[in-house]
Symmetry: C2
Subunit: 439 residues, 2 copies
């Protein structure tokens, strides 16, 4: 029996998941394979291993339902996991809804977002395989800080290409990465062939995740084996690591007396946050135990799921990554420099794209001003400033909740609150001063 | 039986304290009374009531051991309380100590520090008494954000005078206050007589908490009864509210199998964080059940406990506040603009001063560079960026822990981690670039 009067469900460390969940074996249709960009043949572990740690490549292609979380990774997870599932009672009252609003809050992690769930295992496996340095890209800076922290923990160097729009607009994130000992470059940079090519063409570009990926991959590939590359979203192994979020939610909802989540809203940039939250709950639905709806919320400025095509495309601008079957706006798409830097990606995780394509997950887009309006409403009621990315999920959830006023309409709505927005305050400041472009 | 292998002790909401603890009746010697600045007679509730909510004035003079926390306050506390007590295992390994290091982490609160523990009840009591606006001062911006949030919760306006050094150096905190709907002024300002007097004398002043207090008190006193004033530290009722910290620690230490804290280190600016953490543990010591040592750690740039005099002084520059018996550097003392803005106060909570004076609590000072060095060591091991204020406590605890290497030296050391430092990243940045003044 749960306690409907609870505000937040905290799990003891002993109930932290000990395995990640891989949705692949449970999908009604198998997801299309990644392809070799040269041969267009299905990619293999050996094809990816020069760039990524071998264990991560194994996970990328795994059809095993559950994969053990290494003890050393769980030890670091325990600094902040399990994360809280909170009932937003004050927000419910503020908008007068009969819905029960919950948020799964990943902002208690060391760097303030869900990204640490994957950076820690990625650094761990690389360190175990003797890699001395990890290269990566970062949009909002969330993934870069997460990897910088994880590299520090496992004694590796960390080199980050940060999308120029964020590098310039979010200096605090750069400082956070540097405090954890990382080296940070503005992307596109003069340090790589990929970066120089973009700059030659468009010196004033605001950058994009796709460009930064090219630079980081190139740096790893040309390091003579010293460095490998780490990706913060999109790929199957990242989605796998994020499944701890949803596994915890399944243990926490009953603490409130809820039998299921009726609707789940999560923001979708590369897709790992939403997939991590949703896939364990989707497993329950596919097994016929629940009838949860899942909604991916993307920014109107970068609408890959709602306006992109479902096709094979590269994950980066230079075409260094494998071909991934996904919803994409095209690898050369440069989104407006919206404040939700973590959502400025042309593609979408293949596994999430597949579930959207097969009708298991819905998708919608939200404008930037609507997102910040919802974020401020949330902050003033709950006292917690959400990341601009998370604001998109909040906006969609609030729009839904406002339509529910009678007891019969009541529903358990779960919002993926991927992180806090304290380092994004200039964006809130600009919004409050009326200065945001609404795309 | 506790679990020595635990990383963090999380209490369920049902074990959140329902009462605040007032140390006054348990002190071996009664603390000296506050005095009326005019008559130098002991102050009464009626003397303070024009400025503060009556209920808070009652608490200021209370000799009752326990005071019930109102249900409406507990409901807001439940957003983040109980806060975690975490064992810093990675830090222990990093420095090779036999000590067991714990940190009580208040950074999970909505605004990222312990200040919300008092802002919420202060706003609640004022709202209950029909007050429409609260005025206050803020140093680092922690208290200002906490009060801005609490005023929003209880439907009141909030007007904040932020010390100029912080207003200019920490724009993110101003933005956070504004996001919660508060009005923020740089102090000293032209809006008050007190501010104009200071500016006339020293237009380039970096400001001080004592000046900002004068401005906020004056604004309340001249508001025609619309506004009252709220103080974020120093006074007995603030120390009272913060006792939830220590009460929780007493419930959490046994979860690790610890019978007591052997040493407690907390930073001391106005004193409420350290007193809130320590006084419930001091009660246990005074009752003969433990032999915990308590250490107040202050910045070398503002050493009220270690170099000030124990005497009656005003809490503000203009002399508007009551005379408080405390360790003080003199109300006109303007500390260097160190980054730990929350510690730049000339005085110290009378109750904490009394316990230092009577030998119950020890005091020491730490330099700014030593504090940041320790903070970065902590961040890289635990993944959590501490507030510059908290870095002082960490520095003292690490110096202690480094002397303990044998099993016989082992001890349970509890650090008061009053908040996170994500909004203080420019200070870390300056330190890493070698640019801090070491005072």
């Amino acid at each position: 029996m749960g306690r409907p009067d609870l505000v937040k469900a905290l799990l003891p460390e002993s109930q932290m998941p000990t395995q990640w969940y891989n949705i692949v074996p449970d999908l009604p249709e198998p997801p299309p394979p990644h392809l070799d960009p040269g041969t267009r043949e299905p990619l293999t572990v050996d094809d990816m291993a020069p760039i990524f740690a071998r264990e991560l490549c194994e996970q990328e292609f795994s059809t095993q339902r559950y994969i053990d979380i290494p003890e050393a990774v769980r030890e670091v997870y325990r600094i902040w996991r399990p994360s809280p599932l909170v009932r937003a009672r004050r927000l419910e009252q503020a908008i007068g809804t009969s819905a029960r609003l919950y948020y799964k809050y990943e902002g208690t992690s060391p760097i303030g977002s869900h990204k640490a769930n994957s950076s820690v295992p990625q650094a761990y496996y690389n360190a175990a395989e003797g890699v001395g340095r990890l290269t990566t890209e970062t949009g909002a800076g969330q993934w870069g800080s997460a990897l910088a922290f994880a590299c520090e923990v496992f004694g590796m160097e960390c080199e980050v290409w940060q999308v120029r729009a964020s590098f310039e607009g979010k200096p605090y994130r750069r400082m956070l990465m540097q405090t954890f000992g990382a080296t940070v470059h503005s992307s596109p940079s003069e340090l790589t062939q990929a970066g120089r090519a973009v700059l030659a063409n468009d010196p004033d570009t605001t950058g994009s995740l796709g460009m930064a990926v090219s630079e980081a991959v190139e740096a790893a590939a040309t390091s003579g084996g010293v460095a490998k590359y780490a990706l913060g979203s999109v790929l199957n192994h990242v989605v796998l690591h994020q499944s701890v979020i949803g596994e915890e939610v399944l243990r926490q909802l009953p603490m409130f007396g809820e039998e299921q989540a009726d609707v789940v809203y999560g923001c979708a940039g590369g897709g790992s946050n939403l997939a991590g939250l949703s896939f364990p709950l989707l497993r329950e639905k596919l097994a016929g135990r629940t009838d949860t709806r899942f909604v991916a919320v993307e920014p109107a400025a970068c609408p890959s799921l709602t306006e992109g095509t479902y096709d094979y495309d590269h994950g980066d601008v230079a075409g260094l990554t494998p071909l991934l079957k996904m919803y994409t706006l095209g690898k050369d798409f440069v989104p407006d420099p919206i404040h939700a830097g973590g959502l400025r990606y042309h593609g979408m995780a293949p596994l999430l794209s597949h579930t959207v394509h097969t009708g298991l997950v819905e998708a919608m887009a939200v404008g930037q001003n609507e997102a910040f309006e919802a974020g401020i409403e949330f902050a003033r009621a709950e006292g917690l400033l959400p990341a601009p990315e998370s604001c998109h999920a909040i906006a969609a959830a609030l729009a839904d909740a406002r339509t529910r006023t009678s007891e019969a309409d009541g529903a358990a709505i779960v919002i993926g609150l991927s992180g806090h927005g304290q380092l994004d305050l200039p964006a809130y400041d600009a919004f409050l001063s009326g200065g945001l472009r609404d795309t």
